[in-house]
């Protein structure tokens, strides 16, 4: 059994780490304070191929697969959760759904510019009354000749206001319910009728915009149906399932820096005449962080390998998201406590990590939903239906 990363991934990690440390880390605080990942940074990441990491090179991507993408997500997660979220929504669910379910023409037309980072992607699923209950969406798509006309409002959409391409889930037949009645559409955001409502004011990941997207009689050609007509639910489930692994990777990066910062602080800070690192209350916390981080690392990269080798991975990916987000939460909370009053100050980067990590237990399927996904898959072979 060889648990080492193949050499190209080791070089990729080193290159991406340098990019993150040089281009992103110095402005991470500013991104949080001024609520925006600068578009020049996004362009720079695009020029370095970081907006299409897992996609094949023939579609403009890096050809690094899920393992490569998790490496990139981890490195980004080390320096800036806002940037990780912008890139993550773009690659992980928006472009990914086109990669998984798009026709050749759709991939040429939409995936290529997304993978190259010339276009930004967003994924429009959530509505005010349809969060965990994604099947309860009310946005409609009505056939009109060779087009569909879409009406509805999506909320909490990452990149909603900067996206060129958005994958929208809409009800095409209310009588058929979730399976059969929902279809995915590729929508160009410069279409007449597409507008942005409000932008959310959030606790963290403040550099990532979370928008309300309003569709009023937006016309899309029938060629823009993504995946099978009426099978939109499956399209978005597939996308979310895979996206969860890289979310865990982003959390791994965040947890890792929380631990590294704690080690550096604890060995430098002296109280009672000694470095606080020598106090059991402190170093026990750090040891616990190490254990969880190592467990998460194995979980994330094994899941990425399952995905890249086309093996079943739904439970493992849900576990990555569930365990990753809670680990990042525990590590950032312990790191804050180790830093004492300084950890509570916005002059220190620890509190930003604490705020940024909190959303990871909620978005892309709350951790409650992840537990249901895992349980449902565990009990299915026994004929016991576990649902929401």
């Amino acid at each position: 059994m060889d648990f080492s990363f193949p050499k190209e991934y080791r070089l990729l990690r080193r290159v991406v780490r340098e990019i993150c440390e040089t281009e992103i880390k110095p402005i991470a605080k500013k991104i949080d304070r001024e609520h925006g990942v600068p578009s020049e940074l996004v362009k720079k990441l695009a020029s370095l191929g970081l907006m299409g990491v897992p996609f094949p090179q023939e579609y403009g991507g890096m050809g690094a697969g899920e393992i490569g993408y998790c490496i990139v997500a981890e490195e980004l997660g080390r320096v800036c959760s806002s940037t990780t979220t912008v890139v993550g929504a773009h690659i992980g669910i928006a472009a990914m759904s086109i990669h998984l379910d798009g026709t050749e023409e759709q991939k040429r037309k939409y995936l290529v510019p997304l993978a190259q980072g010339r276009h930004i992607g967003a994924f429009g699923l959530t509505e005010a009354a349809a969060g965990s209950d994604a099947a309860a969406i009310k946005t409609t798509a009505v056939r009109d000749g060779n087009e569909y006309v879409i009406n509805g409002t999506k909320v909490f959409i990452t990149n909603g206001d900067i996206a060129d391409t958005i994958v929208i889930m809409a009800v095409t037949d209310a009588s058929l319910g979730a399976y059969g009645g929902i279809t995915a559409f590729i929508v160009e955001t410069d279409s007449p009728g597409y507008s942005i409502g409000s932008l959310e004011n959030k606790m963290g990941i403040r550099g990532s915009t979370t928008a309300e997207c309003v569709l009023q009689d937006v016309h899309v050609p029938k060629e823009n149906v993504l995946g099978r007509f009426g099978a939109g639910f499956l399209t978005f489930m597939k996308s979310l399932d895979i996206g969860r692994a890289s979310l865990g990777a982003g959390c791994l990066g965040g947890a890792q820096v929380a631990m590294e910062a704690s080690i550096q602080w604890a060995k430098a800070r002296e109280q009672f005449g000694v470095p606080v690192a020598t106090k059991q209350a402190v170093h026990f916390m750090i040891s616990e962080m190490f254990v969880e981080i190592e467990a998460l690392r194995s979980l994330v990269y094994r899941t990425a390998w399952l995905i890249d080798t086309h093996q079943p991975h739904i439970m493992e990916a849900a576990a990555c998201k569930l365990f990753g987000s809670e680990t990042a939460g525990r590590c950032s909370n312990k790191a804050l406590q180790i830093h004492g009053a300084l950890g509570y100050s916005r002059d220190c980067e620890i509190e930003r990590g604490w705020r940024d990590q909190r959303i990871t237990e909620i978005y892309e399927g709350t951790n409650e939903i992840q537990r249901i996904v895992i349980a449902s898959n565990l009990f299915r072979p026994y004929g016991v239906k576990v649902s929401t």
Partner: protein, 382 residues
């Protein structure tokens, strides 16, 4: 044993609750967003006795017992944590030590201003090199005839930007000593205001003392008795933080219960989902546990007994519990819990301070363990 509130206590509780709900609660979001101490609110609160809670009636104060004081802090926290912490620091860490350790002259000079809302109090103990290890403080107080000259730097002084009177701990010839020093004293400069994760309506500042002259008459207690005085004040502070944790958790539960009844997913309010019910039930259990500790500690204080250990226990338990409770109740809100329009978002950030201010949870653990082993004849070191 009768744990019911007396008529007076009920009356005060209702009065505090009404004022807080009407005046303070609606301003909570703004106080946090603007990062502004709520000066007008604090002024309005004078008439309700919030500045003079522990001042005896004989000195024109409210004359509340400690338990009713905790009810006051609970109601304040339920409305807004920043306002609560501001008033708690004033009452527990400045007014109370002055009442307990001041001379008649000191009390006559300073209590009226503090009680009438003219002067806000601030407590200055922590230094850059003396956080948990408070006894390692380096601010000096050099005797110079009828004065002391204070030199040093204090950090994380709560209310520093607004206070008119500071209670400062400094090292004099006979050891750590407490002093009362007014804001306009030459040599005293209020410096940088901390930008914090939560409690953004509290003014935490640095305080510079550069040979600031304090008359001997403003030394509080004897030389060398400063740490005991500080410890005693911190007992009230820790109990107060427990009461605020209680109020914060109660407010958070209220928010989560209402949200879970309104928010429909899978065709029913999420209140109908078992796991949500479990989160709510666990939060309620935690709240009642905190209440038990606060009540018992306050009773010990009111019956003149040593309540130091139980105050530490209250702070230790309630600080950590408040984090767990607000964290879970934020989760009940789903994505909405991450948005600043929902109160739980700021209560989660505000409550995080409770494991740090007033002595970290780790220090509380040390203090409790120290007492246990001391009773058995063993001295343990931090």
């Amino acid at each position: 044993m009768d744990l019911r509130l007396s008529e007076d206590q009920l009356m005060f509780k209702r009065m505090f609750s009404d004022f807080c709900a009407k005046e303070i609660r609606p301003r909570g979001e703004h106080i946090d967003q603007a990062e502004e101490p709520p000066v007008e609110l604090l002024n309005k609160a004078v008439d309700q006795g919030f500045w003079a809670a522990l001042v005896p009636e004989s000195m024109d104060g409210c004359g509340l017992d400690v338990y009713t004081y905790t009810l006051m802090l609970e109601e304040l926290a339920r409305a807004d944590m920043s306002t609560a912490v501001t008033l708690a620091a004033h009452n527990s860490l400045v007014v109370k030590p002055l009442l307990d350790h001041g001379t008649d002259d000191q009390r006559a000079r300073f209590v009226p201003g503090l009680a009438m809302g003219e002067t806000l109090g601030a407590f200055a103990l922590t230094e850059p090199g003396a956080g948990s290890d408070a006894a390692a403080l380096r601010t000096t107080a050099v005797r110079d005839g009828d004065f002391y000259r204070l030199t040093g730097t204090k950090v994380w002084v709560g209310n520093g930007g607004l206070a008119g009177l500071f209670l400062v701990l400094a090292r004099a010839d006979r050891g750590i000593t407490a002093f009362l020093i007014e804001r306009d004293t030459p040599g005293l400069t209020v410096g940088y205001r901390e930008k914090t994760l939560g409690l953004r309506g509290v003014s935490f500042t640095t305080l510079y003392l550069d040979g600031a002259r304090v008359p001997v008459g403003q030394r509080l207690g004897d030389e060398g008795k400063g740490l005991d005085l500080a410890q005693h004040a911190l007992d009230y502070s820790r109990l107060g933080l427990g009461a605020m944790a209680l109020g914060a958790c109660e407010r958070s539960l209220e928010e989560a219960v209402l949200f879970s009844m309104d928010h429909i997913q899978f065709s029913v309010p999420i209140a109908q989902k078992q796991i949500i019910q479990n989160y709510i039930a666990n939060a309620k259990a935690s709240i009642e546990a905190i209440r038990g500790l606060v009540t018992q500690t306050a009773w010990l204080a009111d019956s003149g007994q040593d309540f130091s250990q139980l105050a530490s226990i209250t702070k230790l338990f309630s600080g950590h519990t408040a984090y767990e409770v607000t964290n879970k109740l934020l989760q009940v809100h789903g994505g909405y819990g991450y948005m600043k329009e929902y109160a739980i978002e700021r209560y989660y950030r505000d409550c995080r301070a409770l494991e740090i201010v007033g002595g970290t949870s780790q220090i509380q653990q040390y203090l409790v363990a120290r007492d246990i082993y001391r009773a058995e004849g063993l001295e343990i070191r931090p």
